[in-house]
Amino acid sequence: MQRARLATIWLGGCSGCHMSLLDMDEWLFELAQHVEVVYSPLVDIKEYPDGVDIALVEGAIANEDHLHLIRQARERTRTLIAFGDCAVTGNVTALRNLFGTPDDLLRKVYAAGAPDGPVPREAGVVPVLTQTVTPVHAVVPVEHYLPGCPPDAGAIRAAISEALQVSAIETQRK
């Protein structure tokens, strides 16, 4: 049987959703029968590959690197699942929106009390922050939403199972 190509993506989030994924414990072995993990913070693959069937996207869109990766992922993936509250709503990551523009924020964090103090802004080193933090679907279309902070392992298992079935059917149709 051909295994589905699964990716997991870690954007602006705490990685708690990935931890919850690992909480599926022994079901991970069963999952491994059905999927091939082609991209993930859990594996050492640098470039997002082509022809991904399902991608779990953890985290909100908070900087230019996230934007680049999610657009790439969208082009190369059949089914995107917004994975956890940060991806679905912005959640805690988006709390920075309350502090104004990225510049306001960086000043607040790095130069509080020292108005002329240095703010890290080295091009090409630290990713440039987006104007606001947004959920994933505000940037690219998303097929499914899996809320929770983090979603519990059972919910993740149900979502992946469902997506795999759909994926199998769609693969057959091709």
Binding site: A82, D85, V88, N91, V92, A94, L95, L98, P135
Partner: protein, 235 residues
């Protein structure tokens, strides 16, 4: 007591003549979602979640504010109503900073329950991310305007049940804010009796008891109705 017979979702229902469509539906075991309604308080028809379709009326009517009538035909779950209700909840989530993960009411929140019940899984609108104050000047309670949905249940509970009218609403549109007295910090309010009815009435985590953990945030809003009924049925 005169009785009216009507149909709700095709089901024959009878109700007292003075009952609202919402009361008639609930008595018949039909759930209509609500947010600004709270048993025991007057109805203001503000949240628009309980809108229903009534045959012969080209406008949707709020079930909480519409009296039953003989032969009335009510629909409470048409696709259009479901779509509008989901959007109402979507708009609320986008309006202020409802971050469930860091909210004291997580798991005990009517807004969260509504989202779940109505199938509102994600918000398609821009989050407005306003900067809202948190007032913890009161020794026992706090109000976090980030979580307020402006249902005005606190305003009515305070005015109609406790009778002191500490709360009211200032400003307009999305800039509306619940205020205590003449927009003083809650702790400086001279009218507040610290009775805690606003805490009972609040559907979200906006008004909370201080020093209470997330797991302990359960509130029994039915107590408001109990107080009102007990007062009216004294013998």
């Amino acid at each position: 007591m005169s009785v009216r017979t009507l149909s709700i979702n095709g089901q024959q229902v009878s109700a007292p003549a003075e009952a609202t469509v919402l009361e008639a539906a609930r008595d018949a075991g039909i759930t209509i979602p609500t947010l600004c309604h709270l048993d025991g308080l007057s109805d203001v028809g503000a949240c628009r979640l309980c809108l229903v379709e009534i045959t012969g009326s080209n406008k949707l009517q709020p079930a909480c504010h519409t009296r039953v009538a003989e032969g009335m035909e009510v629909q409470t779950e048409t696709p259009r109503l479901q779509q509008y209700r989901r959007m109402v909840v979507e708009l609320l989530f986008a309006e202020r900073n409802h971050v469930c993960a860091v909210c004291v009411a997580n798991g005990h929140c009517e807004l969260q329950n509504l989202a779940r019940a109505l199938g509102m899984y994600h918000v398609r609108f821009d989050y407005l991310s306003p900067t809202c104050a948190v007032d913890i000047t009161h020794s026992r309670f706090g109000i976090d305007h980030n979580r307020c949905v402006l249902c005005a249940r606190c305003v009515r509970a305070c005015d109609e049940v406790e009778g002191v009218h500490t709360w009211d609403i200032a400003g307009r549109g999305v800039a509306s804010r619940v205020i205590s007295d003449l927009d003083q910090p809650w702790g400086e309010s001279t009218s507040c009796t610290a009775c805690g009815k606003c805490v009972l009435a609040c559907p979200t985590g906006a008004i909370f008891r201080r020093g209470v953990t997330v797991g302990e945030m359960e509130r029994d809003s039915a107590k408001i109705r109990f107080i009102v009924e007990a007062r009216n049925q004294r013998w």
